[in-house]
């Protein structure tokens, strides 16, 4: 994660993109409901959610392909809500890159520059510059079909960046690439965008992509914003049940906090927490469930291993404590991995317990 870049960026406060109460309905179906979001200069914001959550519609409204049913979109000082797409200072990289198959790499990049009537000499200089940035100058005369997926993505990026847009939009930028390439290109893209101080909004359904790339994440569900926050906030302090379950893995326990400061789940699991008494839904990430031997002092629970799933570095155990179920990630030496049916003693790290307010 690019942690070093974050503090410098936070000091910048000028807003480049502003969604103000944006809504989009198709008949009775509400695709996006009351979305408000400000994106600062140089910030990399991610719209994250399952398919059909409204994230792509939001992106397309900023690009100008979809007109909002209500609300306003501002770009810098201008209300662009009714400005046609071809007059918006917005660059976009499509999921399938959408390179013009009948044009070479250089001509693809030149296309937008011709449309803004840039003189030929300036065009040539700009093409050379952006192709150098994405390290594709040697492929300038190739046609898109002769390029790999990763190269095509860089051409699409160069084509969008050539116009020096105020904001760059990326629609599921890595979904068409294989896993290894995805991680490498993610790093490349991130350093390129940050090097240019480019304000970026990208859409993904992949939480790992969102957590590693974004300065801020907007988690969306069924057209509504569930939570906006930094990756750390989203993962460590989910505000809603949906966010907790969609980002990472967790165990959800319904129950209540009693007068003595203990959480008591409906299924009988009890452990101390720092919270006011009352009904509550507790969220416990698997990494906060530990073997009793590792954390002496905390209340110990006897658990039965129901399943044991080897995931490489860690092993995910599904545990039963009384009637309650808990997930736990453990790291074990070869041959020491618990098996289904084993009984183990565990503790719940109270610093890792979170609560969500919506009890749906």
């Amino acid at each position: 994660m690019n942690m070093s870049a974050v503090p410098a960026r936070v000091t910048k406060t000028n807003t480049v993109v502003s969604f103000r109460g944006i809504e989009k309905s198709y008949g009775a179906f509400q695709a996006v409901a009351a979305l408000s979001l400000d994106i600062r200069q140089g910030e990399l914001v991610c719209l994250l959610g399952p398919s059909g959550c409204g994230k792509t519609t939001t992106l397309r409204m900023l690009a100008g392909f979809v007109e909002p049913s209500a609300g306003e979109i501002w770009l810098d000082e201008d209300n662009v809500t009714r400005v046609p797409a071809y007059r918006r200072d917005v660059g976009i990289v499509f999921q399938n890159y959408a390179l013009f198959p009948h044009m070479t790499v250089a001509k693809n990049v030149e296309y937008g520059l011709v449309n803004i009537n840039m003189p030929k000499a300036a065009r040539q200089a700009r093409i050379a510059e952006v192709l150098r940035r994405v390290e594709l100058q040697h492929l300038a005369d190739r046609y898109p079909r002769a390029l790999s997926g990763g190269q095509q993505q860089r051409v699409a990026l160069a084509r969008a960046l050539a116009l020096q847009p105020k904001v760059l939009l990326l629609d599921e930028p890595f979904s068409n690439l294989d896993a290894q390439l995805r991680v490498r290109l993610r790093e490349e893209l991130s350093s390129l965008i940050r090097g240019l101080d480019m304000t970026t909004l990208f859409v993904t359904h992949d939480q790992e992509e969102a957590l590693t790339l974004a300065d801020r994440i907007v988690v969306m569900n069924k057209g509504a914003v569930e939570q906006i926050g930094t990756p750390e906030e989203i993962y460590d302090s989910p505000q809603t049940r949906f966010v907790a379950e969609f980002i990472g893995t967790c165990s959800l326990l319904e129950g209540r906090v009693d007068e003595g400061g203990d959480f008591l789940s409906e299924r009988g699991l009890r452990f101390p927490v720092a919270r006011r008494p009352g009904a509550a839904t507790a969220i416990i990430r698997p990494e906060y469930v530990r073997h009793a031997a590792e954390a002496p002092g905390a209340p110990v629970h006897r658990a039965v291993v129901e399943t044991s799933e080897y995931m490489g570095a860690a092993t995910r155990l599904q545990l039963r404590v009384g009637d309650a179920r808990l997930l736990m990630d453990g790291r074990y030496a070869p041959g020491r991995r618990p098996r289904a049916g084993d009984e183990i003693d565990i503790v719940i790290d109270p610093t890792g317990v979170r609560f969500v307010t919506d009890g749906n």
């Binding site: 690009a63 797409a85 071809y86 918006r88 660059g91 499509f94 013009f100 009948h102 011709v114 449309n115």
Partner: protein, 293 residues
């Protein structure tokens, strides 16, 4: 027979076997007769019965006559005008069909194909009823007070062009629709996001990518137009001549087969020449000029 697809790439024998029935039919009923007609066009005299010898006199006769030359030119001009007319009228229809959801497209495609199932004679007589002196159009214009006496709307070039375009438009629409179906609509969004107006997107993205379909539509319509003879004869009357009609007369009325054969091959050669030219121009644009500016 096994259910495994036949790998025709590595088995030329299998490929030949698959082609053979169609090939035999074409060879027997197209290529052989055409050779015979080609040979006939070099016979001297006015009959092929028992004719021998070899002469270019039939071709010389054609090209030394201003009448035949102008009919040839006019025929080619009809072909080009009808094809271009079909492109202009057919592109918007083909494009919008391709961009429709398939369920909506199906019904509209039937509407476009239905006229093709009607006999050409029925269609042409329909037009004669519509355009005649006592026809619907004249009555309508009279009723609206736009004209004072019935006009002769038939038997002129414009009427022939309109009827030919009506007949061949479906081929152009289907040809363009098929190629637009292959164009990813996202490309048009990409173009828009790169500051292109609708017109620029149309000129620089849609048309170049649709070019193969436009050319194949042009080819179909051009070939059908230059060889048309029922429509020009019935709608155009005696004053509008197309080569197809003259060949028909020469072969079936005058029974001058050698000259009719020569005219057929002149029409064939000129038609192929025009198509080769169009293909060359478009292919050159695709490989070299389809770039920005």
């Amino acid at each position: 027979m096994s259910a495994v697809p036949i790998d025709v790439e590595s088995r030329p024998g299998a490929r030949l076997l698959l082609l053979l029935p169609a090939l035999a039919l074409l060879l027997l009923f197209l290529v052989v007769p055409m050779f015979s007609v080609f040979r006939t066009s070099f016979f001297p005299g006015t009959s092929s019965m028992g004719a021998t010898g070899f002469t270019l006199s039939q071709y010389a006769r054609f090209f030394s006559s201003t009448l035949y030359n102008s009919v040839l030119l006019e025929t080619v001009a009809y072909g080009i005008i009808v094809s271009v007319g079909c492109i202009v009228l057919g592109f918007p229809v083909g494009y919008s069909l391709a961009r429709m959801p398939p369920a909506k497209r199906r019904l509209r495609m039937i509407l476009i194909i239905v006229p093709l199932t009607l006999s050409l004679v029925v269609v042409v007589f329909g037009w004669m009823v519509l355009l005649g002196r006592q026809g619907l159009l004249n009555n309508l214009l009279l009723a609206l007070g736009l004209i004072e006496a019935p006009r002769q709307l038939l038997f002129n070039r414009a009427a022939v062009l309109v009827v030919l375009i009506q007949q061949f438009l479906p081929f152009m629409i289907l040809s363009i629709m098929n190629v637009v179906l292959q164009i990813d609509p996202v490309l048009e969004h990409a173009s828009t996001s790169l500051r292109a107006t609708r017109l620029t997107t149309f000129r620089k993205v849609v048309v170049p990518l649709a070019a193969p379909g436009i050319v194949s539509g042009f080819t179909l319509v051009f070939v059908m137009t230059v060889s048309a003879f029922v429509t020009p004869r019935l709608i155009g009357g005696a004053r509008t001549q197309m080569l197809g009609g003259l060949i028909f007369d020469e072969v079936l009325t005058t029974m001058n087969w050698p000259f009719g054969a020569a005219m057929s091959f002149i029409l064939l050669a000129v038609g192929l020449g025009v198509l080769a030219l169009v293909n060359m121009l478009v292919v050159r644009r695709i490989t070299r000029g389809l770039h920005v500016r």
